[in-house]
Structures are given as C-alpha cells and as structure tokens.
Symmetry: C2
Subunit: 221 residues, 2 copies
Amino acid sequence: MARLRVQNFAITVDGCSAGPDQSLQNPGGIGGERILGWVHETRSFHRSFGRDGGQTGVDDDFMARGIDGIGATIMGRNMFGPIRGRWEDSDEWSGWWGDEPPFHHPVFVLTHHPRDPIALGGGTVFHFVTGGIEDALEQAVEAADGADVRVGGGPATVRQYLRAGLVDELHLAIVPVLLGRGERVFDDDVLTTDFECVEFVSSPSVAHARFVRVGGAGSGG
Amino acid sequence: MARLRVQNFAITVDGCSAGPDQSLQNPGGIGGERILGWVHETRSFHRSFGRDGGQTGVDDDFMARGIDGIGATIMGRNMFGPIRGRWEDSDEWSGWWGDEPPFHHPVFVLTHHPRDPIALGGGTVFHFVTGGIEDALEQAVEAADGADVRVGGGPATVRQYLRAGLVDELHLAIVPVLLGRGERVFDDDVLTTDFECVEFVSSPSVAHARFVRVGGAGSGG
C-alpha cells in the first residue's frame, strides 16, 4: 500500500521550516537559505536538475532515499510560488524550478483557485487541486501507481497532513540554526498520531531523525 | 565577566522541553523521561549525586562541561517542585533531589512567594527570589563570585531570560522524540538577540547544538 512520506523536511532547532515574508527574492522566506542550504550542496540535488557536482555523504544519502520510491508529490501553493490569489493574473508562473523541474513525476499543488495542468520537461506535470488535502492525496496515490507519495511542503501543508493523521513516515532534517522568526509546523494540536524514531544519524551540519507512525487516529496514506 | 549560560537544555524535535501536566509523579511532565532519559544515564549525573556508574561519551562530556565553571544556578519554581501557591502549606518541600542535591552551589528559585533559604548537604543552598529574573540574575552573579551563572530551567524560565536578551550561551540537547504536547520555549517573540552555532556534535541519542550570542538588544549576563 502506498505510504505518505515527508522527507528531508528541514527544521531549525527553534522549530522554523521557513523564514518569514516569502517573496520572489526569498523563496524560503527571510533566512530560508540558512534552513535549506545543506540541500543545495548535495549531489542528489544537483542530479535532480540534471547537473554534475555536489557532495556525497550522510546528507546526500538521505536526499537520495527521500526521492527513492516516490511516484507523486503534493505541495502547498506557497511552495509552488510566491503569488497569491487567482491564477489569471499570473498564468506565466510555472514554479520556481525552470523548464525542467527536479520532480520527474506528477505534482499536486493545493490551491483555492482552479487552473489547468502544466506539463514541463523531464516528466513533471503540475496539477492544481481545489478539493483539499484528502482529494489531493487520493489523486496523488492514483498517479503514483503503487509507489509512495511525498508531501514536499511547505510548513502549513505538512502541518495539515500531520493534523489529519495521514502521514506514515516523517523524516526531519534538523539544522543547528536559531532563526528567531519563521513558519513553524509543531504546536500542541499537530500530532494526532504517535511516531517512533527508527533512525537518528547526523552529518556535520544536519541531524536526521526519521519517524514512522505507530498508532493513533489516522488511517490514511 | 560572568556569563549567563543555558546548558544541556533538552528539547524534542517538535520543540518540547517538558511534557504536559507536571506532578509529583512526573517531575518533567507526562513523557518527561523521554526528554531527559539521556541525562540520567551519564556518569556526570551519577557523580553529581555522589554515586558511581553511568556512561561516558559525548553526552557525558557535555554534561561535565555544563557544570564546569558554574558558580550559581537559577531555576523556576516548577523546576524546584510541583507545588504551587504559598510556601506555608508545603514548607517540608526542599526540592526533588533529596538531602544532598547535585548543585553544590547557591541556587536561586524564582517565586512570587517569599521563603527563607534552605541549606542542604554538599553546598547547595536554595534562595527564593521574589524580585523577578533580573533580581535573581544579580544575586546569582554576586553569589557565583566571578564564575558563570546557569539557568537550569524549566522552559518558562529559559524563555523569560531569552526574551529579555540576557542569555550569553545556549546549549540545546535535541532528542529524537516527537512528544506531541508539552512546554515549548520557542515562538516568534522569544529570541531578542542573535545566536551563532559554534558547536554541533551528536551522540547516538542526542544532537548537541551550542550557540553563543553575537548581538542584539540584550546587554545582560
């Protein structure tokens, strides 16, 4: 059965997974590069864009495993772009990632505003889902065709899936940064299911903690 | 000049430094042992109670360094005990730690209710401070006589000192646990100063991140 996985989801020691005030200039919010910089240095990140270079090691291993076995991705609208409101005013926007995005599979973007799918190079097709997180999950599971589904982000989207008890595996990449202000996933209402840590490994710049669901109210994935 | 240090302050991946519903049976709140269990296994912890045993290694090294150079400790009332309200009703309570507590120096307990000091074995004297966090810091700095002052906890007390910009060094011990509900230190209003990570080392069960203040509004310590 397809599992719903959150992979390589970066979080600072003070709980931020994005900085405040996202914009075209700051896709991850102000200070976002301090949260995601380690991703950009891995070989797997470079390869997903068809580029050479990047570093191997613990972080790259986790990046590779985070892609492995994934057949579809779900993301929130803010992860897709900095633009809010109706798409009519911004229909040239096709994501942050250029003509050949790093997904190479169907991507389901949560939005309140309908829009036709966008097919880009390398197998990435962006679908826009207005029916909410369960509708998106259903469509993504079908598109993944037996493979797992990944929740890419951002923080608000991960929070919604956790709160609904739908996440089967949660891999957090803890970075030794105190950001101060930003978007946080966790509060007392987020975890409706119990998670057990099954792996805890650190590189010099990231502590990777991988959790799997062991019980609770959810039944999804 | 004496520095104000937070040392070996444990925090789960989802930001909890104590579980909910502290009581006599659960000094760290429900699930608190999942946050603090690693402390109790170190040799330094055993030694601070005059006992043999315990493990050496990364966690023990940090525990030893967290005590080193400290001349006084500040703690909140909830770290001192589970009892609330006036001391008259509970004047037999002298802390969780028995006749010879592990501090071996003056300890300043923040409280709204005056109480005479309690001198116990091994050099620990509990002083009760009703004048607030700056008054407690002033008294602790004087008592430490040139050594550093430690903020022991709990989460609400650490938060108060961070918010006031008074913390010079912040060592967080991140445990790979998702607690769900508990007491969290960090939100958008907590860090009034900037901290830089100067050390990031992990054991199999804890990721240690040590931060020092690099600037901001505070001037204390």
